[in-house]
């Protein structure tokens, strides 16, 4: 007969060789390898202070005939610790899901049992099609002040544990992050970036339960975020971007009235529009160039007020008042 035997880490384990007498001559193997006689007490196998590495197939053979007398699969593990349970509604008002995990592995099989009670009513938690540590509950009632109580029990051969969550319908509402975030430069506007996004596809009824959004952005070279909260719409134009600097942008969503903010969306990067680099000219000369020419100084792109036509080939000084801005732009470069 083959058995499965579960033992706690650190336990002392005694294995009897089936119906063999204590003084019978036997040989024990672990995963096919003979076990030294020092571990035997008569025909009994003694394993002291077992650890995980001692899990395996143990077999006992009669000494002379080498008949298999007993076999067991030893699984060393631990009883479950209190499980971690989370419940969330990312598809309000349809329902919510709960998912769970153990804080530390037990190394032996566990079974999870979840109960969901709303007031006095038991609710069904349907298993997720893919994730085995998740289940879904459909709301039977909306706008209720009666709390939900979710109890998760985890059991294995060495023990059991449980945890309970109690919450309001609104408290667990948390949309998924906005999707399809796109950031684009605005032609001829070196300080603007156009950002657009979409409602998370999991949010089933944005007309009845509209989302508001929080946008954050910063140049890559700086640590501090700028924030904008938007009560409607799925686009925004940033108008104070540093010219020529690459930006990182993210968006989060929240129901207008209830619940909490989503996680941040995937980050997108964009750089505001910049004019083609032009050579700075000096008072000494202005050279009309029809091909690329070298210069010891390249003006950074920035908004110019002066007429481009007045600069090229005029033979006169063409210093735009934006020189100050140029200096400021360089200052940013060195932050």
């Amino acid at each position: 007969d083959s058995h499965i035997q579960y033992e706690r880490v650190g336990a002392d384990v005694t294995m009897k060789c089936g119906s063999m007498d204590w003084d019978a001559a036997v040989t024990w193997t672990a995963n096919g390898t003979d076990i030294d006689e020092s571990h035997l007490n008569g025909s009994y196998l003694i394993l002291k202070n077992v650890d995980l590495s001692q899990s395996g197939q143990y077999s006992c053979y009669e000494g002379s005939s080498w008949h298999l007398k007993y076999q067991t699969s030893l699984r060393v593990g631990t009883p479950p610790k209190e499980p971690v349970l989370m419940c969330r509604s990312n598809n309000y008002p349809k329902g919510f899901y709960c998912s769970w995990h153990l804080p530390t592995p037990t190394y032996i099989p566990n079974t999870f049992n979840i109960s969901v009670i709303h007031g006095t009513k038991d609710m069904v938690c349907e298993k997720d099609a893919v994730l085995k540590n998740r289940c879904h509950i459909r709301y039977l009632q909306l706008f209720s002040t009666v709390k939900y109580k979710v109890t998760l029990t985890v059991t294995n051969a060495l023990g059991k544990n449980f945890t309970t969550l109690t919450f309001d319908e609104f408290a667990i509402v948390k949309p998924d992050p906005p999707e399809s975030v796109v950031a684009k430069p605005v032609p001829n506007n070196p300080r603007r970036l156009e950002v657009s996004w979409q409602n998370p596809s999991s949010w089933p009824d944005p007309e009845s339960f509209p989302l508001k959004f929080f946008l954050r952005y910063r140049p890559l070279i700086l640590d501090q975020w700028q924030h904008v909260e938007l009560s409607d719409g799925t686009s925004h134009t940033i108008t104070d971007a540093y010219a020529g600097k690459e930006y990182i942008i993210q968006v989060a969503a929240k129901d207008n009235d209830i619940g909490t903010w989503s996680d941040w969306s995937v980050a997108v990067h964009a750089t505001p529009w910049t004019e083609e680099p032009k050579h700075l000219t000096t008072e000494a000369q202005i050279t009309e160039t029809t091909s690329a020419s070298t210069s010891s100084f390249m003006a950074p792109p920035t908004t110019k007020i002066c007429d481009k036509g007045a600069v090229v080939g005029s033979g006169a000084v063409a210093v735009c008042w934006t020189a100050g801005l140029v200096v400021a732009a360089y200052s940013v470069l060195f932050i």
């Binding site: 039977l140 909306l142 706008f143 209720s144 339960f209």
Partner: protein, 195 residues
């Protein structure tokens, strides 16, 4: 069935819905803030109460998405009229217990009462727009709730504010459903009361 929508009717409905939706959102935010203040100033435990309070309309509803437009308006109107009376009573009770600490609470209650009244008005206007009879108020409501002990008053007040916070979300959602549908009556037959 509602009369065929004239452009002005549709515009008026849209206007009433959007203003009502904004009002519901503001009301929700103010009631949530008021709840925190109320719990603190009344010395209540945030987990106190929880059982349904007599006379307080429950926002909980099954098959909310299947409700007709007319049904939504009528249920909301009945609820907000009840809240109007309940908040007025709370205000009166507050004034009887007036202390410095409660003056701000009294003002906040009065502000919410105004919002509730305004929302009820929007609902009545929407019902009028749909040529539906507006249920009468006088003498139709339940008898005033019994005089309670101070502790009972506090718990009832907590129940009122909690349910009102739920109704504010439901009311906003209902008006958005109405705005989405473009008509306030759906397939409901019969009026909510005599004209």
């Amino acid at each position: 069935m509602a009369a065929a929508d004239s452009p002005s009717t549709a515009l008026r409905r849209r206007d009433l819905c959007s203003r009502g939706i904004r009002l519901a959102g503001k009301m929700r935010a103010d009631v949530v803030d008021l709840l925190d203040t109320y719990v603190e100033q009344q010395g209540l435990d945030a987990s106190a109460g929880g059982a349904a309070v007599e006379g307080v309309p429950l926002a909980a509803v099954e098959r909310w998405d299947e409700q007709t437009g007319g049904g939504r308006l009528l249920e909301n109107l009945a609820a907000y009229r009840a809240f109007r009376a309940l908040l007025a009573q709370m205000l009166e009770e507050q004034r009887e217990q007036l202390g410095e600490a409660d003056a701000g609470l009294g003002r906040a209650l009065a502000a919410v009462l105004l919002q509730v009244s305004a929302f009820a008005y929007h609902l009545e206007e929407l019902l009028r727009l749909e040529s539906r009879g507006i249920p009468g108020e006088e003498g139709d409501g339940p008898p005033p709730p019994p005089r309670l002990s101070r502790g009972g008053q506090k718990l009832r007040g907590l129940g009122v504010l909690r349910e009102l916070a739920q109704w504010a979300v439901r009311g906003g959602g209902d008006l958005r459903q109405l705005a989405k549908a473009g008509t306030a009556t759906g397939t409901a037959t019969g009026g909510g009361g005599s004209p």
